[in-house]
Symmetry: C2
Subunit: 235 residues, 2 copies
C-alpha cells in the first residue's frame, strides 16, 4: 500500500477482520495504540477507524474501546440497471415500444392512485422494452403530472420513461418489491411467452422529497433475466 496513511491503516485492520484473525467481538487496538504503532497523529487513526465504522466492520464504545462488529443482516447492493443500458451493454439493439398512453384522473377507489396524483392528473403508460427485436420487459407506469409536469410533452420513442425521469427528476428515493408471478394472458401475449410462464416482477415506487413521483411495474421473462446483487456484510 502506497496511498494515504489513513487508508493503509484502514485496510490493515480490515484485512485482519475479513481473514477471521479478529473474530466478531474481538477488541481492536485503541487509537493511542494505533498512533504509536504507525507513528502518526490521532486524527489520522481516527479517520481510519471512523471509515471502518461507516463500513459496518467496527463498533466503537466510549471508554470501552473498538470492537469487531457482529455481521447481522446481509444488505447487498442490488444492481437494478436502467433497462436500456443493460440491453446495450449486452450488445443487442434496444427499442421502447409505447403501446398505450393516457392522461386521466386518479381512480377514487384506488387509494394509491389518489396519493400518487396528489390532486393532479396521472400519466398512464404501457410499453415493451425490446432487445434484439424481441420483447425483453413489459412496463406499466403511472406518473404524477403534479410531480413531473414536463413529462406530458415527452417523446418516449427517443428516451424511455425510466431514463427520462432519471434525467429530469434526479435524486429520488425508491422502494422496489421483487416477486415472481405466472404470466397472465396479456403478459404472455406481449412478452411472447406461454401463459403461466414464471416471470420476475419489479414493482417500484419513487418519491422526491416525500412526494410520490411514479409507480412502475416491470415484468421480465423469468428465463431471460437475472437480478444480481453483490455484497459483503456491511461492504
Amino acid at each position: 500500500m502506497t496511498g494515504p496513511l489513513h487508508q493503509r491503516i484502514r485496510s490493515d485492520i480490515e484485512a485482519r477482520i475479513r481473514s477471521g484473525e479478529w473474530a466478531p467481538g474481538h477488541r481492536a487496538p485503541t487509537e493511542a495504540e494505533l498512533l504509536a504503532e504507525y507513528g502518526c497523529s490521532r486524527m489520522t487513526v481516527n479517520k481510519a477507524m471512523t471509515a471502518l465504522v461507516e463500513a459496518g466492520l467496527i463498533v466503537r464504545r466510549k471508554r470501552a474501546g473498538s470492537f469487531v462488529a457482529r455481521p447481522k443482516v446481509h444488505a447487498p447492493v442490488l444492481n437494478i440497471p436502467d433497462i436500456q443500458s443493460e440491453i446495450v451493454a449486452r450488445g443487442e439493439t434496444y427499442a421502447f415500444r409505447l403501446l398505450a398512453r393516457a392522461v386521466r384522473t386518479a381512480d377514487r377507489d384506488a387509494p394509491e392512485e389518489v396519493e400518487l396524483a396528489a390532486g393532479g392528473k396521472l400519466l398512464a403508460l404501457e410499453g415493451v422494452h425490446d432487445a434484439g427485436g424481441r420483447p425483453f420487459a413489459l412496463e406499466r407506469r403511472l406518473v404524477s403530472l403534479k410531480a413531473a409536469p414536463e413529462m406530458e410533452a415527452a417523446d418516449f420513442a427517443r428516451v424511455p420513461p425510466g431514463a427520462w425521469l432519471l434525467e429530469h427528476v434526479a435524486w429520488t428515493e425508491a422502494e422496489s418489491r421483487i416477486s415472481a408471478v405466472n404470466a397472465d394472458a396479456d403478459d404472455a401475449r406481449l412478452l411472447a411467452l406461454d401463459e403461466g410462464a414464471a416471470c420476475l416482477v419489479v414493482d417500484r415506487r419513487t418519491w422526491r422529497e416525500g412526494q410520490h413521483v411514479t409507480r412502475v411495474r416491470q415484468v421480465f421473462p423469468g428465463e431471460a433475466y437475472d437480478l444480481v446483487a453483490r455484497f459483503g456484510p456491511g461492504a
Copy 2:
C-alpha cells in the same frame, strides 16, 4: 439540527441536492466559502464534504471544485434477511426440516463443484424452512468442508445452515442472483404448490478471502414472498 456541526453542514447541503435546488452538475460552495458561512475550521467542512462524496452525492475535483453528482445506476440496498429472523419477525413459528445430508466428493463434470470443493469434500444439504407449520422456502446447499470443516458435525435442527455459517464463518462476501422459475414436480411437492407455480429463486455463492465457501439455492413460493429493496441513488 442540534448534533455535531459537520453533520449539520452535511445535511444542509444534502437537502439542497435532494430537493433539486442544486441540480446535478451544479457547483457547490468551496470549502473556503463554507467555513466562512459556518464560521468553523476547514477540517470540519472537509469532513462534511468527504461524507457526501462517500454517499455519492458530490464529486470533487482539485482546482475545479465540488459538484453535485449525476445519479447513474440505482444501487438499492436489498434486504435479504436471514429466513429464520424473517419468519420470527412475522410472529410465526419457525422450523428447519433437514431432508437430506451427504458428504461427497465434487462431481468432476461440474466445474463449479470442483472449484467449491478446492480439493476437499463437499457437504450437500437439502431442507425446508417452515413458517407456522407450512413450507416457506426450499433450500439446497453445497458447503466446502475445506472452508468450513466444523460444519460436518453441526446439528441443523438447532441452527439452520445459513445462520450456522453466518455465526461461524463471519465476514464473507457473496453474490446473489435472483430469478423466477416455474416449480418443477419436486419443488411443488416440497413446497405444497401446484406444479408450474411461479417461484422466486435466490442463488447465492459465498466467499471468504477469495475462497469459495458455499453455494445455496433458495426457492420461495412467488405468491408468499417479496424481496424489498429501498434506496436513494447513492444513499
